[in-house]
Symmetry: C2
Subunit: 455 residues, 2 copies
């Protein structure tokens, strides 16, 4: 893989581009461009090395869809790569411009287009927390969000994510109904604006922005419950897992997060330390307030509730979900970069056995952090275990050993969709669709590795 490094002499006609862009806002300051060309790729020691020099040539900040179209047309005419970016919260370089060119910063294209009960139409650059605050006025919120909700955008979530807080109830973004429509701009000399509805919308899901520039999304909403953040501590990880499984299977208990985490991971949860007793496994949950009593009854005598308070996510607050999903990994990385992680999907029909098998296989090397989710209608676990990192060879060996035993791995240590996404991919013909909407292969080149430009 070759990566493009920014230099005063770009290989692209940037001056010609700015002329075509007219008054569309741009940023050319090399320090800023370089900084915004990065995401949280450094979670992976492999990508940290591989992508460290990646940078775009120029940031374009469209104010509206017309600016997006103008930029797409200009890039098509001049054959300049165009990589869409927003919150920059990805973990494997989803929005990093491997071949330089334009970074299209979508964060000024914001706001709700319309809302009806249970459905919202929103501009792609809208921050997810801001979106939930808007829809919450009518007692609705998004079905699911990443643990990066406070900084991420809805467009970035759909383009680079796969699920998260809420997937224990609704499954991932790939499930039919979890993305109702996407409006995209194609990258051609005369860009088209396409409305992709229902199944067709899956063509932009987790495609890292390679299959059109998303400008609007139509998303289903769920009731906005008052959420309670809860931590329960257990003597063993097995007990935390079993309690979590009982909660995950309780269809009458409205929940958004059910996360068993093995010691010593909670030892790195700085501000939560008092709720994470030394040596104990924990179960992190978000439960709708009216069902907290049911939650406690299901726990029965198991474990000790060490933390219980209304979830708050405004300025100065730290919601519990920032200790779950890939924020769990981040909490440890804050003080110790010797570890990394994996993204697993356990088989639903032998979940407990499979989790136990992996724990026995890698004691002290792969530390369990599970996320209960629905996947294709069944309760199972996604997992983001903390891995004590040694070498790339050993990491690949660990991955192979999981796969050989029926645990799916979405490898977060590679940049291409084909190698990385696996079970998170939508069942949609993204490759075929790209030929239609980005025939020159200018969108985020290098990410959809199997694509060959058609003209």
């Amino acid at each position: 893989m070759t990566v493009h490094q920014t230099s005063q002499l770009s290989r692209y006609p940037i001056d010609a581009l700015t002329a075509l862009l007219g008054d569309v806002p741009i940023i050319t300051d090399r320090t800023i461009v370089r900084r915004r060309s990065r995401d949280f790729f450094w979670y992976s020691p492999i990508l940290a090395e591989e992508l460290k020099a990646v940078a775009g040539d120029i940031i374009v900040r469209p104010r509206d869809e017309a600016d997006v179209i103008r930029t797409a047309a200009a890039c098509a005419k001049l054959r300049i790569p165009l990589t869409v970016r927003a919150g920059g919260t990805g973990n494997y370089g989803q929005a990093m411009p491997l071949q330089g060119g334009v970074l299209l910063d979508m964060t000024d294209i914001t706001g709700v287009v319309w809302q009806k009960p249970g459905v919202v139409r929103v501009r792609a650059g809208t921050n997810i927390l801001a979106l939930d605050q808007t829809t919450r006025e009518t007692n609705y919120e998004l079905r699911m969000h990443p643990s990066t909700k406070r900084t991420a955008t809805i467009g970035g979530f759909v383009a680079g994510g796969s699920g998260g807080v809420g997937s224990v109830t609704y499954g991932g973004l790939r499930e039919p109904g979890n993305i109702l429509a996407a409006r995209i701009v194609t990258v051609e000399e005369e860009p088209r604006v396409l409305e992709l509805r229902q199944d067709a919308a899956q063509k932009v899901n987790r495609a890292y922005g390679t299959t059109g520039i998303i400008t609007e999304l139509e998303m289903p909403l769920a009731p906005a419950w008052p959420w309670i953040d809860v931590i329960a501590a257990f003597d063993t990880f097995e007990e935390a897992f079993e309690a979590g499984r009982a909660i995950a299977h309780a269809d009458g208990v409205v929940k958004k997060l059910v996360t068993p985490i093995a010691w010593p991971i909670p030892g790195y949860f700085g501000s939560l330390k008092s709720a994470c007793p030394e040596g104990k496994a924990i179960l992190i949950s978000m439960i709708a307030e009216p069902f907290l009593e049911s939650f406690r009854a299901i726990l029965g005598g198991r474990g000790t509730i060490t933390y219980e308070r209304p979830s708050e996510e405004g300025p100065g607050k730290v919601p519990l979900y920032e200790f779950a999903w890939n924020h769990t990994t981040l909490q440890w990385l804050k003080t110790d970069r010797s570890i990394t992680y994996l993204q697993l999907l356990y088989p639903h029909d032998r979940l407990a056995e499979s989790v136990a098998e992996m724990m026995a296989l890698f004691p002290d090397e792969v530390l369990p952090h599970l996320e209960f989710i629905r996947f294709a209608g069944n309760i199972t676990c996604s997992a983001l275990p903390v891995v004590r990192y040694s070498t790339p060879e050993r990491l690949n060996e660990i991955i192979a050993m999981h796969e050989a035993r029926g645990v799916f791995v979405a490898n977060p240590h590679v940049v291409s969709l084909e190698d990385g996404s696996r079970h998170k991919r939508a069942d949609a013909d993204q490759l075929g669709f790209k030929a239609d909407v980005d025939p020159m292969g200018l969108l985020n080149p290098g990410k959809m590795a199997s694509f060959v430009a058609v003209r």
Copy 2:
């Protein structure tokens, strides 16, 4: 079992009772009392014979909880049995007064006490359709309702039902969180009013009114979607089943009903005849409007959609759910009383195999009608097959053959909770609780057969 028949000379001191009741409204007209002592027990040819003479002595129609307390006190003082009744939509004599006495008609105790987002507190005699119409003003509705929604009450549903339309998403009433609280009146000379919250509320769930008189319920609400009634027709029942299974497993598709039904059952669906082609199996569904496109995509090329319109349940309308759950059976019984039915629960981990096994075992005798539901967190099928009835012995043989093969049967041909309810029962100590709230065993005597009066 001895049953009490109404007569001019009651074995109970009815005059003393009316004196104690004061101005509490009563009905003593024997024709009315006899008629209101019945429910839809005649779905069972066995119960039809066994219960045909059952009648209470007097109907009491409390106007409020104070009237209920007064009636409970009077019955306790005079040792008169008290059987609570409302819409009378039960199918196995749940509210039929086996030993006569007072029929407590709750249908005048109605109305919403309070509502907050996602939760409603409602008086027990409130009609379920009326309740949904009220909560719908704020875009909420009940999570689930019986197919008798238009005539049944919420109290009757909790006391005599187990789940229904909506259980494909939320499981049955027995799941933690599906009944948030119940307020009950005890039957003692000085009745107490108890508030049972969360798990404790399960003590009145499907207890046929034997464990206290429910006056109020606190129920969780779900978003009120615009529901679309859909029928798809298939060449074989297996195809209808597989399509239903795919829909049931689609966590992103909001649904309330997924019902595969074998031919010739739809041949009895009078007003729906044009949507039920000769010889075809059908799949009945209720899908939230924004997800109809996803629903169609999941069907793919399978089947033919023969019916698709917004669900309407007002006067003069027939919602599709009145062809599902035990209304399916009713449609056939309208013109032919030679059939009856069973209530089954299939094992989730070998669902398709088990359904196929039963079909092979009883061709043309037990005709498949399945209801996809969640049960303890897993997708499986409840079933109300139409049974071509011959003798009680053969019916019991069919039941035994199901049970021997791992299919649970909640026998709808018996009156006692112990024999009938099985997998529908809540995991709560209803027997022990009855000793506390009805120590003389006056509430609906004969239904909780294992109870012995404690004083």
